[in-house]
Symmetry: C2
Subunit: 144 residues, 2 copies
């Protein structure tokens, strides 16, 4: 079967990235395989590229900087022999994600607490304990 040939617009549609972003990603070295050109100079992508980009999109969504994806891409491009390095890079980002999960959970707890307080407040007319600035004295010390 002939390898499927995709042009930039089609890849953009499939990945959800803009054509601008695709060209930017290429300049930034995010592709794990040189992007070839057809006779007239247009970029030609394979379905494998699209798959790879799918991973990139997930990496980006999880906060991996372009520079890091680029490092990974280089390792993959360089081929067999650096698997340990790739592994470490992935593990590192895994730890990063774990940290983010914890932070998000932390904030979610905060929000759920406040939401519950406001719900109580709204339902029971003042029973909740929403954010409340304590009454502000005009100056630093209470009236003498």
């Amino acid at each position: 079967m002939t390898a499927e040939v995709l042009h930039i617009g089609e890849v953009a549609r499939r990945t959800g990235l803009s054509v601008h972003a695709l060209r930017l990603y290429e300049r930034a070295g995010l592709f794990a395989g040189e992007v070839r050109r057809d006779e007239t100079g247009r970029r030609v992508y394979s379905t494998w590229d699209v798959e790879w980009l799918g991973n990139c999109v997930k990496f980006r969504a999880s906060g991996m900087p372009l520079a890091t994806i680029s490092r990974l891409a280089r390792l993959v491009r360089e081929g067999t022999g650096n698997e340990a390095e790739r592994l470490e890079l992935l593990r590192e980002h895994g730890r990063h994600i774990a940290a983010q999960l914890a932070q998000l959970q932390d904030c979610l707890d905060l929000i759920n607490g406040k939401v519950a307080a406001y719900e109580r407040h709204l339902a029971a007319d003042g029973t909740g304990e929403p954010w409340q600035q304590q009454p502000r004295p005009g100056t630093v010390t209470p009236a003498p």
Copy 2:
């Protein structure tokens, strides 16, 4: 008990924000209570401000833009009567966090899969199935 008076440096140390960031946050309207000044014009913060900033830090860490925190701060500043609005804002951000959690989990699954593959690959010398470009033909179609 006299309200504790904090200056910007101390607040920076307590919140982990830079003094620059604190001034930026003030300009951006993130404070839920006007920041007062002492006789010589230096900013004076209360422990309540520090608490509030702690929440802001969590909000930021979970991706809430300064503009949104600012909206929330305005609501709190305006006082009682807009609790329903605050509630909706918080709920909205809660949904946003849930979406992020899902994305992070998705990426984490991807990474764990790859990590497992590379581990197998490294341990069993080639058994894994790491990222592998299929052999690239010189041109688009295989040699005719």
